[in-house]
């Protein structure tokens, strides 16, 4: 336990030194870097396409919404953008309901869905303003991404895409360059700690190609030149229900509980080519940590890393020991005993 506490301190030191050459980083730092460092979670979930025959995109985004909400991100920290109203579409034989599966077990458009941007509010401009925090004066608080340097942000996009763009509504599109610029600006404005970018469209991998910002992990349902396909049809509604990649991602997420030990690494492999038909693309080079060691709840839940300390910690000023770079000769810390009180939640998790 002591060791862990030490490492945490080291991690804080090393974050300050992150801009130095990474090849000579001490092993201790590498380990430390694998730890979650965020303080809060945000999710931006976007369905960019409209029209009844794109029902599946709305089902996609509502399903992801349902999962992140179940895993603990509060509605106030989920920005949900839906370009069309499928639930109340006149063609919907189940008025007010949206399903993501032909057996219609779960109505993903349940009682407590808060759509922040709807219909024609879902535009490229609004999306970019949302990401970069440049919302217009008078924008409601619920429509702002109020993240900070400690936020882990999940961005999920679905719709119709092509090589280097994602179509919004039926009239405009966001290019991969605009997306990369938006995320770079988020980084510069310290609007995220780590960012998980997930996109389910045709040629989805083209959307993350231009990213240069650090701490971004990206996954796409298909590579450039590939189509992302839908999973199945509900013949009683008469539309495709959900896309393949999202379907298998949900299959995985549905089994995840808030204190799960499942990792992002596992999540990246949910849709092998044999079931997805398209090849799932992953971009890890901007990401500092090993996805195999990152809990999935770092992005899909709101479980913050907590530690119990009996020490006094100065949260305003840096300690003297923070500036030690010579780890071997660091003065030993005082022995202390950590008492862990059994808690109710721990019992459940046994």
């Amino acid at each position: 336990m002591l060791h862990k506490a030490l490492l945490l301190v080291l991690a804080i030191i090393q974050i300050n030194a992150a801009e130095y050459d990474t090849s000579i980083l001490p092993e201790a730092y590498i380990d430390a870097a694998q730890h979650s460092t965020h303080t809060n979670n945000w999710a931006v979930l976007v369905d960019a396409s409209r029209f009844w025959f794109n029902y599946r995109h709305v089902a996609n985004v509502l399903s992801i919404y349902r999962s992140v909400k179940r895993l603990g991100i509060p509605d106030s920290q989920i920005i949900l953008m839906i370009a069309d109203d499928m639930a109340c579409n006149a063609r919907n034989p189940r008025p007010g309901q949206v399903y993501n599966n032909a057996n219609q077990h779960i109505n993903v458009y349940g009682d407590d869905v808060e759509v922040d941007y709807r219909g024609y509010e879902v535009t490229v401009e609004n999306f970019v303003r949302l990401l970069t925090g440049r919302t217009q004066n008078g924008t409601a608080r619920s429509k702002k991404l109020l993240s900070d340097a400690g936020s882990n942000v999940l961005i999920y996009l679905t719709g119709h895409g092509g090589d280097g763009f994602l179509k919004f509504q039926d009239s405009e599109e966001i290019t991969s360059q605009e997306l990369a610029d938006g995320i770079q600006q988020m980084w510069e404005k310290k609007r995220y700690n780590e960012l998980f970018f997930m996109v389910d469209t045709c040629q989805a991998a083209s959307l993350y190609e231009k990213f240069t910002s650090p701490n971004v992990l990206a996954v796409a349902s298909s590579l450039v030149g590939e189509d992302s396909l839908s999973h199945h049809v509900d013949p009683s509604i008469g539309v495709y229900m959900i896309d393949r990649y999202t379907y298998y991602a949900l299959e995985f997420l549905e089994k995840v509980q808030p204190f799960s030990k499942r990792t992002i690494g596992e999540f990246l492999q949910v849709c092998p080519k044999r079931v997805c038909i398209s090849t799932v693309g992953v971009r890890k080079d901007l990401y500092r940590r090993d996805p195999q060691k990152v809990p999935i709840t770092d992005f899909f839940g709101a479980i913050r890393p907590t530690r119990v300390s009996t020490d006094r910690i100065n949260v305003t000023l840096a300690d003297e020991e923070d500036f030690y770079t010579d780890f071997d000769h660091m003065p030993p810390k005082k022995q202390f005993k950590i008492v862990i009180q059994p808690q109710f939640i721990a019992k459940i998790n046994k």
């Binding site: 025959f53 034989p93 008469g238 539309v239």
Partner: protein, 652 residues
Amino acid sequence: MGLLSDPSISTHNKLVDSLAKHMRKLCYVFYTAGVAWFMCLALPEFNHGTYLSENALSPGLVYPEIRIDANRLALQLLEELQRERKDHQSTTPHAWIMAKFNEFGLETYTHNFTLRYPFGGGKEFHGKNVYGILRAPRIGSTEGLVFSAPYRPPSSVHDEITASVPVLLAFADFARRKNYWAKDLVFLVTEQEQLGMQAWLEAYHDGYKNYHSSSSYLVAGSLPARAGSLQAALNIEVQDLEVDYVDVKVEGLNGKLPNLDMFNLVQRIMAREGVTSGYKHAPRKRRRMNLSPYEQNLRQMLAMLATQATGVPNGNHGLFHRYRIDALTLSAAKRVTNSNVKSNPSSATVPLLKSIEGISRSLNNLLERFHQSFFFYVIVHNDRYISIGDYMPALVALIACSFVKAYLSWSTLDAAERHAQQDAAGNETDPVVFYTKLSLPYGFVLVYLVVTLVIGYMGNVLPLQKYLMELSIGAGPLTLTMLIALNVAGIALPFYVVLPPGGLELLHICMLLVYGCALIVIGLLNFSLGFLVAVLSVPMVVALNPSSTNGALRGLARLWALLLNPMVVIYTVVLVLTFYEFPELTFQQLLLRAVTAVMDAVTFALIDSVIYGNWLYFAACTVFFPLWIICWTLALAKQSDNEISQAKLKTN
């Protein structure tokens, strides 16, 4: 350095000169290429498989929900209707149809229309359509779909299609129980064949305009209720509840077609429900003919051309096209009793009803009018088509003959003139002087063109004059007399008019240009008509040569021109059709019967143009007939006036 507009610059070079020598051969090469290209289109390498362009249609994604009880309802309704028909020998049982619409919970309305038949002193015919609207439950009435069924009384001369109304009603009853309609559904029962449909459409779209107008022949009135902008329409003609096959009819007014997506949609849904269907579908026995796929394709194409060229819709769907509403007719043929396939009468109509449901749900998914796929196409086979880009080259190659000939004649015109003058005046003079002297009688030729145009246009106007219509002769004799009189005038014209020197050549070139332009325009509007006319007339136009001295060729051209006289063509076509229709008649009877048939044909064409807006009659009178008069003039022209001009020059 000369300017391009300098008339003294010679327009001909060696290439043009050598081409001009082989002008006729060149034209025939173009002609053969055009026809060969068209023939090639029947080969699978030259046409394409159909596919659905419109995403929104999502055909076949829903399971049909219409069940056997709908069939039971249709059977019961058919029995009731058959009882009603005994009391309505020549009228429509409006009350019964309205009662049923009301019973199924539709908003029910009637629509009265009047036809003021203008000929023979004038008569009035009245008609009444019944329609019911099923309002879309969760959306404003901004868009609508039409499901229509024509009703024919027992006294009608056409095929009996009584079962259409019960099928329509059974589907209406099913549709009313569903909550997913995003467009209002209009269920329409029309009478008086296409007249009722035309009146209803006119009332629907222009009702507010012509409510008080009394000048038109068809008084459509207005409608008490509407259902927004109509997006698509499906017309149903069912001969019997036991359906053998479904013939999908697409040809509309003036050869307009519904979007290819709609045809494909119907084909796909029909195939899914296991209904035999197709374009120009023939009964089983005739389908067994041992024809190669190529021959079948070619026959199908020619059949489509023949239907389209008349511009007369082959079903009530055709009138919708005028209002940019995509529509087609499902014509379900009766199962012949000796057929091997036995069907259960209690479920016989279910596949057809399921198809109608499937089509309606796909149409319901439409977000805007059909616009993705082709509007100009030729159907080669049920799942193969030729797009406009593939068939236009055939027509263009044919018409290219006239432009090529016009250009080559124009550029060698001064050469011919020069030779004549050089012969006359010897070789001493500078040829440039003669180029500038070359003057053509533009004014005279223009007047001549206008005169022919006026003669043709008279055919369009004369039969509709008030004082002529008030005569107590029927429309047929009246129209025919007028047309024959104009024809005689046209035939006689060249005998009375002597063209000034050079006029014949100029007239020839003008004719070629006008002919080419007219055919291109007609071919774009109605490919079939343009193509058929081009195939028949281009060789004659190529053969025409006013300055040729070859007697045999001139004789041939004259004969050909005479045969292509519009009246002669109509008579020949009608004669051939009469021969096939009544093979038992003797030759003399046949000729006489064809005369009366021609009389009917021209009258119907005139009435079609007046009431429905079919422009075939107009085109024949105002475009083809004047062109024919000019061709006739050129064919009759003798070398004499050239000789006269040379004689005049000699005297100078």
